[in-house]
Amino acid sequence: MATIIEGVASVKAKNRLRTEGALKLSVKAGQAALERAGRGPSDVGLLVNAGLYRDDNLGEPAMAALIQEDLGIALGNLPLNGSGAFSFDLANGAVGALNSIAVVSGFLETGAIDVGLVVAGDSDPDPMFNKNIEFTNMAGAAVLGWDDSEAGFGEFIFRTFSEFEPLFEARLEWSKHAVPTPPLVPSGKNVITVTEIPGYVEQSIECAYQTAMDYLSAQGLTAADVDLLIAAHPDPRVADAVGQRMGLAWDRINHLDESSHGAHTAAPLVALESAVAKGRLLRADTALVVAAGSGITVGACLYRP
């Protein structure tokens, strides 16, 4: 008895230059995931958004509330009859979506909700000025439910390697224009700066590998027991490299198509969708999901179809 994926989807922006922001992409991904799950907005009891880079750098309220509204989830007023839903943002870099799955899973387990929705989407709100943003504007979503059979997510673990905290950082701060501006024109701008120090990808691979092996060992398993590795990181090279480091045969690693490369916080959802779409998740007796991102933070869990 555990949390299962009822439907998972991802959406990519048509054009990098501001045609679709994180909100619109997240809503589209949410709609597609609900449709695949055969669910409607009224089924959702909890919505968690793990996206970080968003339209106009919205600071308040939680982006999740806007996504909830645009998905049409629980739009009534309290004095009326109806059923409610709760939504909030969870932030933990590119691992946040897996944290969100674990959180939703907790409320499915206690019976507080019957269906949960995890959404993660990013867009560069100001490509002309933001520095070093390399992700693709993309969003992913997963509808989660409870299943009384043996299927579903196993125990989740999360580990951090804070000695590598400086290797990847993103900040929003005021940056003055290089040249003086005339009156009534702002003299600068709040811009996002992403700083990635060489070695981040290599250390991400190593940390993900260590976490995966420790997790398997704690579960009484070895790498040989893994039928399918679904690894996620903003850099698509990481998934294959972790699999190879674990000594897995090439066909036991979930490989992303090039068209799915570039997701940031949506990376775990995009990887899951890829495994589901190819039918690989259903065929695997034991799938290992690993997500890694800044921190360096790594999350891992088993999934049995």
Partner: protein
């Protein structure tokens, strides 16, 4: 026992459950300690209103009941306040970092290091757990406007009840007075959409929750998002300088807030298996004395009964956003205003529109606090 037997329909909550879907028992939870971080610098409402660029004619102190608030000094930011608050909570409970299994940071602002430098990632909770010696704790950040800390409590409650976490820290540090500084350049009159920003003050707050042997102790939390009103209060980075600006449709927010809170309370009381008259203290979100009083009167009218006390903490600290409930709780604990065994109900009202409650008994908590603040 509650009079209305109808099951809750709006709240997301697992408060009434004793076992999970597998049939395993859920653990009890208790509040171990709270902590606070208040910047030394005080700024009066007169000072705030005298610094506005335009002559507003707004009598903010009279309108809101706020006389002063705390603001950060150079070197203090969201992160520094959260670390101080966390250490304060740990010290009161005589706990070391390695005894904390989970750290959830819940602040709206995520300034760390350079002034008004907002860190998106890595999560602030990662740096925080290092700073307090809880390197092995599970960590993540949540953002849910002024309902952030109650959201954190809601999540931590679930994890402790399921046995995933034995003891967890929910913390928020808010260097949010930048909203006030920026608004003071734009507010022209009492209907300004940035007026609410002038009520804001800085602070940090922390709460430690842990597993309790008493599964039936009073401790529950529930929350809901009325997303039809998600765009009534929006904050964005300032286009003209550092920091952020917040735009609020205050009247609509107030109207929906009061109407919905009165209805929510029925569900919250059902959820917690309480009558309103059994609640000794209500701590609403601290926005303005008038709003709190109006909400209280509507609740009393609809319920036909009233809680013994409600907390209005605005005069001294203003609206400290996500920390406001726990700043108020901490102050009342420090002033020894609670008696052992009294029940406290926090009510979250935040942009989103978020409505939630958290109810618990103060019990031995009162012994951890002296007249030291």
């Amino acid at each position: 026992m509650p009079s209305a037997a109808a099951s809750p329909t709006w709240l997301t909550s697992d408060a009434s459950r004793r076992t999970d879907r597998r049939g395993d028992d859920l653990f009890g939870v208790r509040l171990r300690s709270t902590g606070i971080a208040l910047p030394e610098t005080r700024r009066t409402t007169d000072e705030v209103m005298n610094a506005t660029r335009h002559k507003t004619g707004v009598k903010l102190a009279k309108l809101t009941g706020i006389h002063e608030r705390r603001v950060v000094s150079p070197g203090e930011d969201s992160f520094v306040l959260s670390v101080k608050a966390a250490r304060d909570a740990m010290k009161r409970a005589d706990l070391q970092g390695h005894e904390i299994d989970c750290v959830i940071n819940c602040s709206i602002t995520r300034y760390k290091g350079r002034r008004f430098s907002q860190r998106f990632e890595p999560a602030l909770s990662l740096s925080l757990k290092q700073a307090i010696g809880a390197a092995n704790a599970l960590n993540f950040d949540v953002q849910n406007a002024c309902a952030g800390m109650l959201t954190g409590v809601f999540l931590m409650n679930n994890m402790i009840r399921r046995g995933i976490v034995r003891r967890g820290l929910v913390v928020s540090g808010e260097h949010i007075s930048g909203l006030s500084d920026n608004a003071s350049q734009h507010v022209r009159h009492v209907l300004s959409r940035e007026l609410a920003s002038l009520t804001i003050g800085d602070s940090g707050a922390a709460v430690i929750l842990e597993r309790s042997e008493d599964q039936d102790g009073l401790f529950s939390a529930g929350i809901t998002t009325l997303a039809a009103h998600s765009r009534l209060c929006l904050a964005y980075p300032n286009k003209w300088g550092p920091g952020h600006r917040m735009f609020t449709k205050a009247r609509q927010l107030h109207k929906h807030g009061i109407a919905a809170t009165a209805s929510l309370l029925n569900e919250a009381l059902d959820d917690a298996q309480l009558e309103l008259s059994e609640v000794d203290w209500v701590i609403p979100h601290q926005t303005s004395s008038r709003a709190i009083r109006a909400g209280y009167l509507k609740v009393v009218k609809e319920q036909g009964q009233e809680p013994a006390n409600y907390v209005d903490n605005l005069a001294e600290f203003g609206n400290t956003s996500s920390t406001s409930h726990f700043v108020a709780l901490h102050k009342h604990l420090s002033e020894r205003r609670f008696k052992e065994g009294e029940s406290v109900m926090m009510i979250a009202q935040a942009s989103g529109f978020e409505l939630g409650y958290f109810v618990f008994r103060v019990d031995e908590l009162v012994d951890l606090y002296g007249n030291d603040h």
